[in-house]
Each structure stands twice: as structure tokens, then as C-alpha cells.
Amino acid sequence: MEQKYIPKSSIKAWLTSIKDDGKHIYAPVAENGKTHFKRVKSVDEISMGHVQTAQSAKGMVFPRTEKLFSYVRQQGDVALQDYDPNDIPCSTVVFGLHPCDAAAFKPMTSVFNWGSEDKPFSERMQRVALVSISCSKCDVFCFCTSVNGHPGSTEGSDILLTAIGDDGYLVEIITEKGKALADKHAEFFEAAATCISKEEHLAPVPVKFSAGEVQRKMAGAFEGEIWKKQPLRCLGCGACAFVCPACTCFDIQENAKGSNGGDRMRCWDSCGFSLFTLHTSGHNPRGAQSQRWRQRLLHKFCYMPERLSVRGCTGCGRCSRACPVDMNLSELLNEFELI
């Protein structure tokens, strides 16, 4: 890993150069009190005043809605047109995501490429470079440090910037992709001072629970009352799943254009919806909200670590911020530790 330094004043120039190379830049843009990842026309639109963007950056590789293939019916036969990677923007730089978002690309990759490779996902992954920024502030919902994360973690990022005072950033170049981005415009970077300790510039995110302990307690409490108690106030919307950087549930839908053809679509879904598991017969194996809540947590904190060796949560806290009835995840996970 290579370390460099970039003065604050050069960041915009660097991004503009990347943009002028023909790459798309997605970055946080503040709008009506929320911050969203958007493709920026000019780097001046970027805002970094937020603790957390409303949505994660997962849409870059797993869009809300995506066409998987098209089909046309012609004279008793069906002609398929497979997924076309050319529809994806050639090269995209996601700037300004936090380490918790960058870390979530690992669990996503584990799910999508589990067994066989998911072509649309992988094609997008190849084209995306992640330039993250360490967190210098956090709020009451953040809990990355409780799930093996860190406000300055390099996991998943191609480049990680850490603000050192007000004047500039420590640049950690982690991957070849990141190196290519920095080397192409080497003029904006300076050598990093050897004595910089980034720790003191990071947000103090307290550890709220022990993930290992929570996993152990959860695994042994499948029939526990806690699963029924906790989600009493849950409304069963999909807000938590849709803002989650690591949730990968999707639905396959048909955009039929008459009876002559159409598109097969993949779109976001949530295991918290009652329709998610509803069978055609009318039977629903997870008919109650408590069962769906249990599934969601067990999947993230037990099944994924067991089967894929990666947790389905990076502690970004979005689910808790987005929840209309304040299902504060770290608080609720803490309750498991206390069983």
C-alpha cells in the first residue's frame, strides 16, 4: 500500500481531471436536507457535510432496477437478447463514500458470485472504482466498530482519503485500480509525511456490542421470545433493506410489451415484505412480521458469517436512521448480548 498526500485545494482539480478523462463521477450531493449519491456534472456540486448519505453506494453495482435480458416472439420461436454490458457506463468513480459503504462491496460480491458469477454485477464491479473518505464525524446510529469495521478502514476501497486537519488528506492507495487513478494525475499529489497518524483524525465510534457474542446468542435463540418482542412496533416497510449497503434481496419481474416480447427485470426487494415469501398456494412460511425480522437478523449476523465468512452488516446505521419507528439496530443487537 502506497501513501501520499493531497492538499484540499487539489481535490477538485484531481476529480475534474478524472472527469475530463471521460469517467463518470458519482458523489454525495445535498438536496432538501438529505444527501444522495448522484452523478455530478461539476465537482462543485459535491457536498461532504453529512454524516451519512440517505442511500448507500450499492446502486452503483446493484441498481434498483436492471434489465437482465430481452425477448421477442417471432413466428412460433423466441429470440433472446442477452444482458448487454455496453449499457453500463464504461468507467465510474464513486467519490466520497465512507469506509462502511466500501466494506459492503465484499458481502455483496460474496452473495452475487456465490457458486456462479453474476454477470451484470461483475461487469459493473469491474467498471467501478471507490475513492472513500474516512469518517471524521459520526452520530448516535453509527456502529461500524462493533462489526469489525473502522471509521478509517481501507476494506473495499481502491483509494482511501483521510482528512488531516483542514488543509489536506492522507491518501492511501490500496489497489491497482486506485493506483491507476492516482498515477494518471500524479501532479496533484505530494509525498506523505512519515509521521502522520490517521487515528487521531478519525471519528470516535464507540463499540456497542460484541458481534461474536451476538452471533452466538442469536444462533441459540431461534425460538426465543425476543424475536417476537423486538419487532412489535415494526411496520413491515422495506426502508431498512433498501438503504442497507449490504442487502442483496431482489425480485425478478417481467416488463411484458404485449404478448410479442418484453424485458426480464431485476429489482430490489426486501425480506421484510410479507409478499417476499408468499407462495402461489397462499401459504406463507414467514407469515408474521416477527418471523421476517428474525430472518433478516439471522441472515446478516449468523447465516452469512457461517456460509460466506462475511457479515451482512457494516455498521453504517442507515437502517436505524431510516426507520419510521426507530428500530435502532445497535440497541436491539445489544439486547441479544444480554440474553
Binding site: N32, G33, K34, H36, A54, Q55, R64, T65, V140, F141, L232, R233, L235, G236, C237, G238, A239, A241, F242, V243, D251, Q253, N255, M265, C267, W268, S270, F273, L275, A288, Q289, R318, S320, R321, A322, C323, P324, V325, D326, N328, E331
Partner: protein
């Protein structure tokens, strides 16, 4: 607050109610608490910050089915409850409704439709200046700008249906977006279908919406979907008067309804 706690504990203790739907202190703001025991009832709070519309839980059969229920009702929750009574979704007398009269005279418990309606008539509606301002601002935009505004806002929607889940009036067991023969509204997130979803939601709210703003408050992306609902309330009142009693605005009519666009 202690008055509420002791009253609820008394009712729970004497088995007059099995469940009380109230508020407890949440991470930042008060959040719903479904208390079934006296220990849980000890966590109850009720103050001016308790604005979330708890009436949404009254139609959740998995929570309240077969139970005697009490509820802490804000002004708008009271309006929703009144409407739910009109729509036969609640049985008169089956729910004990705890209201906070605006004069600070302490807790009041309502049980009959008449009591609820009288309270709503006497209590002044909280002001809706912010919403009125939004509506005015949007109406004053040229049509093309209005389109860009809503297309831009609603293009962000990812269809988590938090607006639906948070709404006390959205109690259908099968929602129109889940009807797929025919597929009325495309179930995936895309601008026009997001818009169609909101249009459907709000059309189905015509004359029923309590204007509580829970839909907008619930939106994780902060989209002003409650403004569309507020506009609907305005339109219904302007065109058909205050919706009153049984019968939905759209399932009734008057031969004297006025419009100026049918030639």
C-alpha cells in the same frame, strides 16, 4: 405523564385492556411502544413531541386481533381513528382512546364515536403552514418546472413503501401495487411508475386522509410525498366540502358538483 402511566397500569392490571399503544423515548424522538405489562407501561411518555400517528397499529390484526386495546392518540391519530370507525375498521367501544386536550387539562379517555367527533370539532387543528407553503410554492411554478420538480424527486423513490406502511388508512390486505393481473402499477422503481404509485396512493386517500403527514415523515429519502396527500385534502375540501361520516368522497356524489373543464 405519571397520570398516563398509572391509568394504563390500572387498566392493564384489571385486564380492562390487554395492550396499550403509546410512546416511549426513542433514540432521538419518541417512538411507538406496545405495552402489555405494567413494567413496560412504566416506559410510557406522552408530550407534545409525541406526534407519530399510532392509529396505524389499530388495523394490524396480528398485533391487536382479539385484544382489548388502549391507545395514546395525537390530534391526527384521533382523526384517523374517527375515520377508521366510519369505515367499520374499528368497533365502537372496543378501543380506549387517550387524548391530550390542547388546554393542558390533563388526560381524557374517549370510547364512543360521538366523543371522538366532538373532541375533533372542539380541538383546533394544528397549523399546516409548512405544507400550505409547499403547495403554494409548487402551484406557482410553471407546469414544466412542476414536472421537473416531481420527476426529479420521485425518480429517487426506491419503493420501500414506508409511506404505505406508516399510513393508518392503508389497511388493505392486498395493495393495488401488488395486483398483477393486470399489472396496474409496475412494481419496480422507475420515475413514471413511482409517480403512478403516489397517484394511486393519494387517489385512494381522497376524503379519507387525516393529513397527519406520516407518509412524508416515514420516507427514508425525505421525499415530500405528504405534500401530495396534503394537496388532495385541500382539493377534496374545496370541491366537496369537509368529508363527514360514512361513505367515501369517491363512492358518493352530488348532482351539483362543479367543474369547469368538461365540455
Amino acid at each position: 405523564m405519571n397520570e398516563l402511566k398509572s391509568k394504563v397500569k390500572e387498566l392493564l392490571g384489571s385486564k380492562e385492556i390487554d395492550l396499550f399503544i403509546g410512546y416511549e423515548q426513542g433514540t432521538r424522538l419518541p417512538r411507538p411502544l406496545l405495552a402489555a405489562s405494567c413494567e413496560e407501561a412504566d416506559r410510557l411518555i406522552f408530550d407534545e413531541y409525541c406526534t407519530g400517528n399510532l392509529a396505524v397499529y389499530l388495523t394490524r390484526k396480528d398485533l391487536v386481533g382479539g385484544k382489548k386495546v388502549g391507545i395514546a392518540a395525537s390530534y391526527y391519530a384521533m382523526r384517523s381513528i374517527s375515520r377508521l370507525l366510519d369505515e367499520n375498521q374499528l368497533q365502537e367501544g372496543a378501543v380506549k382512546i387517550f387524548g391530550l386536550p390542547p388546554d393542558g387539562a390533563g388526560l381524557k379517555v374517549f370510547e364512543t364515536v360521538a366523543e371522538v367527533k366532538q373532541h375533533l370539532q372542539e380541538a383546533p387543528a394544528p397549523p399546516k403552514q409548512v405544507e400550505d407553503g409547499w403547495v403554494k410554492e409548487i402551484e406557482e411554478m410553471p407546469a414544466a418546472e412542476r414536472w421537473r420538480f416531481w420527476a426529479s424527486e420521485l425518480s429517487k423513490c426506491f419503493r420501500c413503501y414506508a409511506c404505505r406502511a406508516a399510513c393508518p388508512m392503508c389497511y388493505c390486505t392486498k395493495c393495488i401495487v401488488e395486483v398483477n393481473r393486470p399489472q396496474w402499477v409496475q412494481p419496480w422503481a422507475a420515475t413514471a411508475s413511482n409517480m403512478e404509485w403516489q397517484i394511486n396512493r393519494v387517489m385512494h386517500m381522497a376524503g379519507r386522509c387525516a393529513d397527519c403527514g406520516a407518509c412524508g415523515a416515514a420516507c427514508p429519502l425525505g421525499l415530500p410525498v405528504h405534500i401530495i396527500a396534503h394537496k388532495m385534502v385541500e382539493m377534496v375540501t374545496q370541491n366537496f366540502g369537509e368529508p363527514a361520516g360514512k361513505g367515501n368522497v369517491l363512492s358518493t356524489f352530488s348532482p351539483n358538483d362543479k367543474e369547469n373543464f368538461i365540455r
